[in-house]
Amino acid sequence: MCSSCGFPAAPGHWTDAGAVTGPDKLRARFRRAQVLQAVLPAYGLSAHDGGLIPGIQISTGSGGETIVPDLSAVWVLAEKLTGRPIDPLDARFLGAGGVGS
């Protein structure tokens, strides 16, 4: 947004906008990895974020690992690896209770 007529825009990737302080950022990264870890295994992928180095680590079942900078890059990589986009409106994600509930 224009700096004179709008409100300040959060810097960085839009998905990182919800946390500013160090502890909040770390909590957000752990939680994000937790959600990814509930979604990706159905597609033969897994996610890890230890909070020490920047980025999200995506692993394939064959042991391949890639670190991507943000969530948008996660979905681009996942589509490349699996051959189709991961669709949140897929029937597997429409169950009533959710993963781990």
Partner: protein, 337 residues
């Protein structure tokens, strides 16, 4: 060829019409084309001063009014398009504005201008017709200009498939091509040539984040050969869904879900907007297809805007509203015991 830019009618004359009628500017444009951003900047610059601003939103939960705080007089018509189901409400609102104006004795106190920002799903044509044919409004209001914003990033795709996008452009007196800084130069030139073919009579100008910006030359660009859409099977209608965001939906889970949704369904989920509470404050979230704008950090809420933080509006087609709710619930509860 260079698109002409001329000072708009409102910049030359802010005193209403000679016969005493109010001037009405209709501001239209497709979903996410930058109507509110442009209007917000105009208000910041002091244009449309003393105008009564009417904002029409297709969704029941309005968002844009929170961004137009520079306007002293503002009314919101939410929950329907002013060109169809909410047309009666628009006429009733304009009549009330006219009634109030007629009660003022001094010409100096009288309202001279109304700006109507339509929803992105509105065809300005029926709105203008409703005002011009209403037996009361016709004596009080003159539709002085139809301004339509055009998204430099997405307009060509919209013009290929959306008859509404074409109608909005064809009826404009002035086309404002927005997001110039984000568009590929060749695609932008092609878009400008296409707009010129669709509406050779309109004046063109450009905008970046609401500010005036110069349009490039497009002499050598070929216009898009747009197919006739009249014989095609109509696309399913675009609809709005307000998704409740309760306290169990945390930002990290929501951002995982929305980023995946827009990657997979960005051509169907045409527009997302709303306010989300996060540890970093209230974030104004806006997307157009797959492009998400950097969220603005809004000031702490006042009591009258508290309702806006309770839902995010999704506008699109090709999915079921209930599936959005169920899927978000699934992601938000992931990993929770």
């Amino acid at each position: 060829m260079r698109a002409s830019w001329a000072p708009a009618a409102w910049a030359r004359d802010v005193t209403g019409t000679r016969d005493g009628r109010m001037q009405l500017t209709v501001l239209g444009g497709f979903l996410g084309s930058g109507k509110t951003t442009w209007l917000r900047h105009q208000l910041h610059d002091g244009n449309f001063q003393d105008a009564f601003v009417v904002v029409n939103e297709a969704a029941a939960t309005p968002v844009d009014d929170a961004l137009l705080t520079r306007s002293t007089d503002l009314a919101v018509l939410a929950g329907g398009c002013a060109c169809c189901e909410a047309r009666g409400e628009l006429v009733a609102l304009l009549r009330r504005i006219c009634d109030e104006r007629s009660g003022k004795d001094s010409r100096g106190q009288r309202l001279q201008r109304i700006v109507l920002e339509t929803s992105g799903l509105a065809d300005p044509g029926p709105i203008v017709e409703a005002i011009r044919t209403d037996p009361i409004l016709v004596h009080h209001i003159l539709v002085s200009e139809i301004v339509v914003t055009v998204d430099a990033l997405h307009a060509l795709a919209q013009l290929r498939s959306e008859p509404l996008g074409r109608r909005q452009i064809e009826i404009a007196d002035r086309l404002i091509v927005t997001k110039l800084d984000e568009a590929d130069p060749a695609a932008l030139a092609r878009l400008l040539a296409t707009l010129h073919c669709l509406n050779p009579g309109a004046s063109f100008s450009g905008a970046i984040k609401g500010s005036d910006a110069e349009l490039p030359l497009y002499d050598n660009a070929e216009p898009e050969a747009l197919a006739d859409l009249s014989d095609e099977v109509a696309n399913p209608p675009i609809f709005a869904t307000a998704l409740a965001i309760d306290p169990t939906v945390d930002w990290p889970a929501f951002s995982v879900w929305l980023s995946a949704l827009l990657h997979a369904r960005g051509d169907d989920v045409v527009r997302v907007k709303g306010v989300m509470r996060t540890p970093a404050g209230r974030l104004l979230l806006q997307s157009v297809r797959k492009v998400v704008q950097s969220p603005e950090v809004l000031p702490a809420q006042s009591a009258d805007t508290a309702y806006q933080d309770e839902s995010i509006v999704f506008i699109g087609r090709g999915y079921r509203a209930e599936d959005l709710r169920r899927s978000l619930r699934y992601f938000a509860s992931a990993g929770r015991t």
